[in-house]
Assembly symmetry: C2
């Protein structure tokens, strides 16, 4: 049956109809439903093992003690279930959030200690809710015009989250309740709230979107606890059980086949929670659904991909991302814990170890025991092109990594827009080295929950700066953002990954190359970028080659920024610094936020900009310039009346009045600055030569680091893979098969 479920909605419709006619469906499911409680994320066998575990020293016991102490303190205070009044962040909002966490935690402590007082506390709070809930109208602070009001909270999303926790709390204390207590809670609270979230809110319930996931998870999990398997059916297949909505459809649509979530890692992390939690509950109650095998194991892939989308424990900060979010967030603690419980993959343990948080669940116990026994092995971070979109073909997010005495990573983003939290940053890139961000992305302009900063929400500068194209490391045409800054247009168009591959030459050189294009970011301009991450072990050199082709029938101004982290050390051209006063670079599309600090026009040849990062390394970006290109040095902070923006630095290559242009550069980490040990080495770029030619549609980038060898990176970024390519260099003939090859050519 699971296998059939992999098919498309249309066949599901048929299936559902077919099966309900024959009554097979429901009975098949009912037959295997557990009659014991708890049985959602935590089941009865888990409890038996956990009760044993809290008697021996180790991570699990110490977590239990800490949690119990916290719960003990909280349940001493009176139960407070206020009439809903405040919006997000306000008192009643925060109180109801605290309540569900407290009920869940008290429920867990009840199971582990058997002490009736914890169950009674949960029961009494549920009674209070059961009395309140039936009296509630829609929330007074609901957003007018929006279709998703709650009752306890201003939006139904929070109500669903509340129920995901509360259904588990109820499940945990169920064995302690008598029939009339159960009836009171179920009739007064659980059935009404399920009704409100499902049949009374069909639009949200059926939505193939993160909000829908929380809602279906809440309803489905409550269904398991109350034995209402019809609710589970609705949760899985939509209100009409047709499969056009519901949890499985969400698993089909919201992730790419590799488990990449369209909005990017920051929201992927957030979205993970209800997927993983509900899946775990399905597995406990209906193992025959093989939910973790669904769509070739999409839930586990989504967890793994979330980890892969991090560098040095922080998520790659594309789109609306708060940059300090990383792999230790609670959503991924949940994900890693459940994934380890299922797979026993010891690589996950090293992630769990760095998370340093143990969950009081059966899987949490497995993680704790394994870590106590030091079973962790290194987690393998991979180079991979994550196809975007539900079919994996709507662009891609490419991560290229190498370890050259420290982890390096290139992020390349020919991904699709990613809905409302997406940025207009097609084909942007970032670079990471020795634990730090070097070529950077601003992330979101937001101080989470800091009241003085726009109430803790997204700042106005998130739209006016962070989302704009100039805030990213990609080409801006005529100072306008991609898709003219329209989300709708962005969602309708996506870049195309031409190829991604990697290759190790007989000389030991390792090359990873990705190439992508988009013709719809601007009406009349085609953008194509090829990025190569290269390791040359013989000369202990790593580098990135960047070729960005811009083609139009009309003349345009083209800007290519590099947002860099560190202190500018040197340029091989006169900076043209403005010393007495500086002004905003432009008046819209993000340009109004940039102070123009210096305006240079390097001579024809190779323009070099070197900076020093806090990690003690130097970085040089060397670009081919024709003598007309300008380099603008900017600092963020203009038109920022409330000092909302971080004052970050960039330099922008600008060419003007041009129909076609290729920005060609080499990016080169080098040397070390160690003032503590009083040495500095290789503070200067070693790149001695860089050229770019196109020969019969093949790009040839030649470069040298001053030794006896010239390197030629040849690549073919035509859409179709060509079998064999010939070219000549310095009078000699060369040949390669496939999309790219790096040649070493001894200088004669």
């Amino acid at each position: 049956m699971t296998r059939l479920m992999n098919n498309k909605a249309v066949s599901r419709l048929f299936m559902a109809a077919f099966l309900s006619v024959f009554g097979l469906w429901v009975s098949a499911c009912t037959a295997t439903t557990a009659q014991t409680h708890p049985n959602l994320v935590i089941n009865h066998q888990d409890v038996v093992a956990m009760k044993k575990a809290i008697k021996k020293e180790g991570r699990f016991k110490s977590t239990f003690i800490a949690q119990k102490t916290s719960v003990d303190t909280q349940i001493k205070q009176a139960i407070t279930v206020p009439v809903p009044k405040d919006g997000g962040g306000g008192y009643t909002h925060e109180r109801h959030k605290k309540n569900y966490k407290l009920m869940y935690n008290a429920g867990v402590i009840y199971q582990l200690t058997g002490d009736q007082k914890y169950a009674n506390y949960v029961r009494d709070m549920l009674f209070a809710y059961a009395e309140l809930y039936p009296t509630l109208p829609l929330h007074p602070k609901r957003k007018l015009g929006k279709k998703n009001p709650g009752k306890l909270f201003w939006q139904s999303l929070n109500e669903a989250v509340w129920l995901v926790y509360t259904s588990q709390a109820y499940d945990l204390v169920l064995p302690s309740l008598n029939a009339s207590e159960k009836a009171k809670i179920e009739t007064g609270l659980l059935r009404p709230i399920v009704k409100f979230l499902s049949v009374d809110s069909p639009k949200t319930f059926n939505k193939v979107h993160n909000h829908g996931t929380w809602t279906t998870a809440a309803v489905g999990m409550t269904g398991y606890v109350l034995g209402e398997l019809d609710w589970v059916e609705q949760a899985l297949y939509g209100l009409d059980k047709s499969g056009t909505g519901g949890f499985l459809r969400q698993l089909d649509e919201l992730f790419s086949p590799q488990g990449y979530y369209n909005e990017g890692p920051y929201y992927q992390r957030y979205a993970l929670m209800p997927f993983v939690t509900f899946a775990k509950a399905i597995q406990a109650n209906q193992p025959e659904r093989k939910i973790f095998e669904y769509r070739n194991g999409i839930v586990l892939k989504a967890i793994n991909t979330t980890i892969q989308l991090s560098y040095n424990k922080l998520f790659f900060p594309i789109n609306d991302s708060i940059k300090s979010k990383g792999t230790d967030t609670i959503e991924l603690v949940n994900g890693v814990t459940i994934a380890y419980g299922l797979t026993k993959n010891t690589g996950l343990l090293s992630i769990a170890k760095s998370q340093d948080q143990i969950l009081l669940t059966g899987d949490g116990l497995k993680v704790a025991d394994a870590l106590d026994n030091k079973q962790e092995t290194p987690y393998h971070f991979e180079s991979v092109a994550f196809g975007d979109g539900n079919d994996g073909k709507q662009g891609a997010l490419v991560i290229m990594r190498q370890n050259v005495g420290g982890d390096q990573a290139v992020l390349f983003k020919p991904a699709s827009q990613g809905l409302g939290h997406g940025h207009f940053d097609k084909l942007t890139w970032q670079f990471y080295d020795k634990g730090e961000e070097i070529v950077s992305d601003y992330g979101a302009a937001r101080f989470l929950n800091v009241e003085a900063k726009s109430g803790g929400g997204y700042l106005p500068e998130n739209n006016s700066w962070a989302k704009q194209t100039i805030a990213h490391n990609t080409v801006v045409v005529d100072e306008k953002s991609h898709f003219n800054g329209k989300v709708k247009t962005g969602n309708e168009n996506h870049p195309e990954l031409i190829f991604y591959g990697e290759n190790k030459t007989s000389n030991g050189n390792v090359v990873k190359v990705a190439s992508a294009k988009i013709n719809t970011a601007y009406k009349d301009v085609k953008l194509k970028r090829t990025l190569a991450l290269i390791e040359l072990p013989k000369i202990s050199q790593s580098l990135v080659v960047d070729v960005f082709d811009v083609v139009s029938d009309n003349k345009h101004q083209l800007d290519l920024p590099i947002h860099y982290k560190g202190h500018l050390i040197d340029t091989n051209f006169d900076l043209g610094t403005k010393t007495q006063s500086i002004s905003a670079l432009g008046d819209k599309n993000g340009y109004q936020h940039l102070w123009l600090k210096a305006q240079a026009q390097p001579k024809s040849g190779l323009a070099k900009v070197t900076w020093l990062n806090d990690n003690g390394r130097f970085y040089t970006q060397s670009s081919i310039v024709d003598g007309n290109a300008e380099v603008l040095f900017t600092q963020l902070g203009a038109n920022d009346p409330n000092f909302n923006l971080r004052n970050e630095n960039a330099f922008i290559y600008r060419v003007n009045d041009i129909k076609q242009h290729s920005f060609v550069s080499v990016f080169e980490p080098h040397g070390e600055y160690n003032p503590s040990k009083e040495f500095t080495k290789d503070a200067s770029s070693k790149l001695s030569q860089l050229t770019h030619h196109k020969v019969k549609g093949v790009d040839l980038v030649t470069f040298s680091f001053g030794g006896t060898v010239d390197y030629v990176l040849a690549f073919n970024s035509k859409n179709s893979e060509s079998l064999s390519i010939n070219f000549s260099y310095n009078g000699k003939s060369f040949e390669f098969t496939g999309h790219f090859k790096l040649f070493e050519i001894n200088k004669s």
Copy 2:
């Protein structure tokens, strides 16, 4: 005899004359000189123990293996002793530096392995030097007009450093040499270089200055190795043995009685090396001199004070300091190792552990063994006023610390100028919390050894910005720096510490207060500042009270900057941000480097500025303002054509056209920003009230955090300690004895 040496130079002159007449002096010393080698920093007994230690697993063995591997690689290459040609950083300069380190390390490995090849390598390199040295004229790159040329190096300082290492290397391989080999090395190299550094360079040799210390150490140590105790006498008492120069005079003059070095921690660390090394060699050869007891143990005090002058492993960055220098620098590794060897103070081990560097010496072995056995105990960082100057009475550097769930430190600097590397920053302060700098000092404007940045030396902006008063957190009068920026005037005048003390009230509140003044920073202006670091455990609040009095007979403009680290979060007044263009705030004395980003004029009352540091805490500075004061928000970076400056932020309280003014403020750490765990708490200042009155010469600062208690900090910063002070507050009478007291007064 040691005891007599503590007296002043005049009595020493007499003593030296007296003793040499009777021939007692030299014979007394000779009698105890060791006849075995090695016997400088490493002695024969050390070697016996170390040879045993390299056979068992542990820190010492692994250090030995690493060092041996490094030496093995290096001695495979041909010995290179080039004719001196290049200045600092150039090839021959760096080569001769490498050579002395290599000879020293090879000498150590010889002693530990007994393998003759290491001794032969050192011998052969010494032969090469012995052939070269007699042929050398003064160095071709010597600085003309300077009195300190070298022969191997451009300045004799490097030559002395070379000899400090080389004398030890020679000492280590001596047992392997025959008479003619010794004669060749001593006649060709050691005697000529000693002659050159001593009798041929009397000015540097006799100088009471860091350069003199290296020189006397080099000559004295070579004297011990060659049995030339007359050289030792000269090293200790100056060329004429009168005591007006020499190592002991340096110990008398360059440190305060508590072991504070006049130039500040950055140079204290640097100066430490020859003091500690030579002292250790004296101790080995003439223990009867009790050098480590000299001047009440000044050498050990200097080592300990260097550690005390750090926060979170980095030195307080006053004066010309490179901010990444800290307790793990090699000079302090030496100091801590030798100090531990002498004292067995297990607190030093926790410093040694964080240094993570083991020396291959007898003391290094003691440290390694103790760390292997986990004997370290926490090192106690103290609150202390370090008197400045050789008598400890030329101002002071005050460090106030407290631990309130994380270490906090206030640095207050009524210290003297500190010679050429001193900054014009009288009465400045800094604040540290939870590992980070919060109210900051720029340190030196320098990228050490980065050729592209002014050859790696001090940048022009070190003078034009870093040394200027506006670059510090202290009052600037009429946009001019203290002492009009003249080092000579600065050296001739110093602030005065009025008092420093600490006190714990019966309520558990802990108060540390320091008060200081200077009347010579400006011709007609008196500056007095009182800073109090306060902990109020009952309300979990820490704070700093700052009262800065400025008094003149004439009207002036007064600026008081706060250089802050973090992101501006909020002000309780309109910022007046300049959005389209910004200009330099002034044209000289550092003002030319400040962009004026916003110009505010808060209403009369309490002006608040809140920022958020990377450590996730909020900080609010609340100042009493009269409605006329301006607050200027600045960013560093104007008139900086080469992007040499870090773009740091400050706000400046400015009052104008005024004869007398007291800047009164409370600085308040609060709350937490934790985007990873998605919570923010106490992002707003809780300070609800702040007043300042002077009653009969007593300052009364009242403040409240909105609870039921008013706090009154009363202090008497008149120069003389008063016995008993009365004052009344809200109609009630209060009394205290001494300089200050914090009162809790319940609101009625």
